[in-house]
């Protein structure tokens, strides 16, 4: 493989090796990472509240009258949401090389996957609401507030992706030299994905342990 633009030489030269790494994170990257950090803490507080209330509640959890959560649908939802980060990554790598079609296609794929997740969550709620609601007891409050709060984040992420797609289709927005916004949306989306794993464990798997 040839050294395109002297990239290898630039990365292995004396200057590069003595310079701190990573070099040149833009301000918006730091801003988004800090935002995600504070959001992640918020989820940690909610999940912490779940376990606190659960262990203070008593031996039987979920409370009497509510059966253990079924796993099939949430696992399908996981199987849709987690891989939805892949098209985002593929799209981001594409636009770094100036390939706008990859950006558009990847974002569209993620948009469809994220929307399917929300639709499935809607049917999941429909089932649960026959058994318990937000106001039935603390278990119901935790279930709907935590999953609802995450669903809200998926919705915000989808809005970002939709916004990115519209901006990209207009033209003149993103390219190899201008893709900060793509990267930031990608960070947010990966976060929304990752946090779902913690929610899956807490809400669906932990009552069965």
């Amino acid at each position: 493989m040839t050294d395109r633009g002297g990239a290898v030489a630039a990365a292995t030269g004396a200057e590069a090796l003595s310079t701190e790494l990573p070099v040149g994170r833009p301000t918006s990257w730091w801003g988004m990472v800090m935002f995600v950090a504070t959001e992640a803490t918020l989820f940690a507080c909610l999940l912490g509240s779940y376990f606190y209330l659960r262990f203070q509640y008593g031996p039987q959890w979920p409370p009497p009258g509510i059966e253990d959560p079924k796993l099939l649908k949430p696992l399908v939802m996981t199987a849709i949401l987690l891989p939805s980060s892949l098209p985002v990554m593929w799209a981001e790598h594409g636009i770094r090389h100036g390939q706008r079609w990859r950006l558009n296609l990847g974002m569209a794929a993620t948009f469809v996957m994220g929307t399917s997740f929300l639709v499935l969550q809607g049917t999941e709620y429909d089932e649960k609401l026959h058994m318990f609601t937000l106001t039935s007891n603390a278990y119901g409050s935790l279930f709907f507030v935590i999953t609802g709060f995450h669903g809200l984040h998926v919705l915000v992420g989808l809005s970002m992706i939709g916004w990115l797609l519209v901006a990209s289709l207009r033209g003149g927005s993103f390219g190899a030299h201008r893709h900060d916004r793509v990267r930031n949306v990608a960070i947010y989306w990966h976060f929304v994905d990752t946090v779902w794993v913690a929610i899956l464990f807490t809400i669906y798997l932990s009552p069965r342990l």
Binding site: G31, C45, S49, L53, P63, V145, R181
Partner: protein
């Protein structure tokens, strides 16, 4: 007119004219609403926080009048509840943090040699949200609907069935609203300090004040979510019938306390840490030397901000938690005094080794050390569980945290006001008046709060609207009230001093104190672009350092003048190597529109006008979409492969 120190040398008149053209804002109403200048926003933070401070202080004065003698009838119990809650809530959330963020806003870009904050429009947005959230909370008082549950709003008293009316809804929504401002401000400080430092200002040359602000910002990022989660659950409990804090529905009242103090104890340091930073900033100018033990102080700042997350249960020693957790949190609370002690001894050593210049800012610093150490002393007593259980919820606690907060935050804030007034306004204050203000403040503070230790030990509980005579509390309460009036007079003198300086003060030179940090290299008040030439920093005390001064005069280079456009320099995070010149955003209405839409949202949530709340959310989303909408650029510039 202000004086510019660096017109000679490598920068010429054309550059200055171009800089003025790109950065100046016209004096118009439009410019007033759209400004993104960190100095104007910082000033607004200071003035607005000062206004909320006056309201909270007057609330306290009314309460002290009520408590001056037994069974007085100035206030009804219900009014008293609302006043003490608003006093605490406003002092903590609407005064202390925003005031210190105001100093940070004005000073951080100047201290690190930048031309603005990293996100100037986010900065403007943060101010508007702070203003609106503060007005939102205070506006409830005339309606008799102000929060009435104490500033920490314990469950189950905060629940709808025990506390009907809008009181605690105002509390929950107001603090959620304000949290948006605090979080965005904190993120802005972190990114600014990481990316916008002048070239050469590696991490070991960052001023201590900036370290303190950044540590505070990190604490905000990781502590505030706990409060937000708490308040969101509270509002859901009250309005939509969830059961988080309701034992009848399987909830738990202690969940509120845990989350509140997971936020609340770091918050003590969120308030005090920038105050300590001000002390470290003021000392070099009045001791004529750098602060002793710079690396130790930095380590202490970092250590405090981490350990502060591990001490929250010491607020809950009287709630019946397991003994083992008491031991852990008791130990952690004892350990955290070590880094605080390191800082105190470093400042004492600085004063011992330096040559003291006894001006008002230094007087306030000395007052700070005396008062804060006394507050820390009673704090160490609280770390002992059995003692804590004896005095919890008594006036002893009130005395303790007023010593810590007035000592740790208000003394440094007053020192900072006098110290930076010449920089902020371009005018000198009246030294005689300022000294009167200091002595009255110092005496008033101790006369007010010292007797509270005693009446607390004699058994007077906090938050009672009155008391019976003959319990041994009468004299202490009367003295305390007299002290409160002394404090009010001293703060009035400070206000008069500031107004007098702005109106009549003699013009301040760029560097009246011969300070060591970069803000003293800028004009007083600074030009809209702060620095005609962004300096190249060669030491920890750049303004005392000739090579740094030379870099802005004869050594000025084009890459640090950046007069072609509204630009500042981005540097690398650790070593502050030049990376690139970055275009800074123009003034905009969008921050105001976004904050206004959020205000509509929170008001309509409070009053249960849900359709309007939905419309407000749509407006918020649309404003954000327009705010971040990318500018159309030609494909060659973007780098698109066709």
């Amino acid at each position: 007119m202000s004086t510019t120190t660096s017109t000679a040398g490598g920068i010429d008149r054309d550059d200055l004219a171009r800089l003025a053209e790109h950065w100046d804002e016209p004096r118009s109403l439009r410019a007033w609403f759209t400004t993104v200048d960190h100095k104007k926003i910082g000033r607004r933070y200071l003035v607005t926080a000062g206004f909320f401070f006056a309201l909270a202080g007057l609330s306290a004065l009314v309460m002290r009048t009520q408590l001056a003698r037994p069974e007085a009838g100035v206030l009804s119990p219900d009014e008293y509840n609302q006043l003490f809650t608003m006093h605490g809530t406003a002092m903590i959330f609407l005064f202390a943090t925003p005031m210190l963020f105001g100093f940070g806003n004005f000073l951080v870009p100047l201290m690190i040699g930048s031309r603005d904050m990293a996100f100037p429009r986010l900065n403007a947005f943060g101010y508007w949200v702070f203003l609106f959230a503060g007005l939102f909370m205070w506006a409830s008082l005339p309606f008799g609907a102000a929060p009435n549950n104490g500033w920490f709003a314990y469950a189950p008293l905060n629940q709808e069935q025990h506390n009907p009316g809008l009181h605690m809804d105002v509390y929950a929504l107001g603090l959620l609203f304000l949290g948006i401002s605090t979080t965005s401000g904190a993120i802005n400080f972190i990114v600014t300090a990481l990316k916008l430092r002048a070239p050469g200002m590696s991490l070991n040359r960052v001023p201590l004040f900036v370290w303190a602000i950044v540590a505070t910002a990190f604490m905000v990022v990781f502590a505030l979510p706990a409060l937000n989660a708490d308040n969101a659950m509270l509002f859901l409990d009250r309005r939509f019938g969830t059961h988080f804090f309701d034992p009848g529905g399987g909830g738990n009242v202690l969940l509120w306390q845990h989350l509140f103090w997971i936020f609340g104890h770091p918050d003590v340091y969120i308030i005090v840490m920038p105050g300590l930073g001000i002390v470290s900033a003021v000392l070099p100018a009045f001791t004529r030397r750098g602060v002793v033990g710079y690396p130790l102080i930095v380590l202490a700042i970092v250590a405090i901000s981490i350990v502060s997350f591990g001490v929250w249960v010491h607020h809950m020693f009287a709630t019946g938690l397991p003994q083992l957790s008491y031991s852990f949190f008791s130990a952690a609370s004892t350990i955290i005094t070590i880094p605080s002690g390191i800082q105190i001894f470093a400042w004492l050593a600085t004063m011992l080794l330096g040559r003291l210049v006894l001006r008002t800012p230094l007087l306030f610093v000395i007052g700070f050390i005396v008062t804060f150490v006394l507050g820390g002393f009673t704090g160490a007593m609280f770390a002992l569980t059995p003692f804590d259980q004896q005095v919890t919820d008594s006036y002893f606690v009130v005395a303790h945290f007023h010593y810590v907060l007035l000592g740790g935050a208000l003394f440094p804030i007053l020192a900072g006001i006098y110290y930076w007034l010449p920089k902020i306004t371009g005018r000198m204050y009246h030294e005689g008046l300022a000294r009167w203000a200091f002595w009255l403040f110092f005496i008033g503070m101790h006369v007010t709060f010292f007797p509270m230790h005693l009446i607390g030990l004699f058994g007077m509980p906090r938050r009672v609207y009155t008391y019976r005579g003959g319990l041994g509390w009468d004299v202490g309460n009367l003295i305390s009230t007299i002290g409160a009036y002394l404090l009010a007079v001293s703060l009035l003198l400070t206000l008069i001093g500031v107004v007098h300086a702005v109106r009549r003060g003699r013009p301040a030179p760029a560097d009246p104190w011969e300070g060591d940090t970069l803000e003293w290299s800028a004009a007083s008040p600074p030009e809209p672009y702060n620095f005609p030439v962004i300096p190249r920093v060669h030491s920890l005390h750049p303004t005392w350092d000739e090579r740094t001064a030379e870099s802005t005069t004869t050594g000025a280079t084009e890459d640090r003048i950046l007069s072609e456009g509204r630009r500042t320099l981005f540097t690398s995070e650790l070593d502050a190597r030049s990376e690139r010149a970055a275009e800074m955003p123009e003034p905009s209405f969008k921050p105001l529109v976004l904050a206004g839409a959020l205000l509509v949202f929170f008001i309509s949530m409070l009053l249960a006008w849900y359709p309007i709340a939905i419309a407000a959310v749509v407006t918020v989303a649309a404003t954000l979409a327009a705010w971040l909408w990318p500018v159309r650029r030609p494909d060659e510039e973007l780098g698109v492969a066709s």
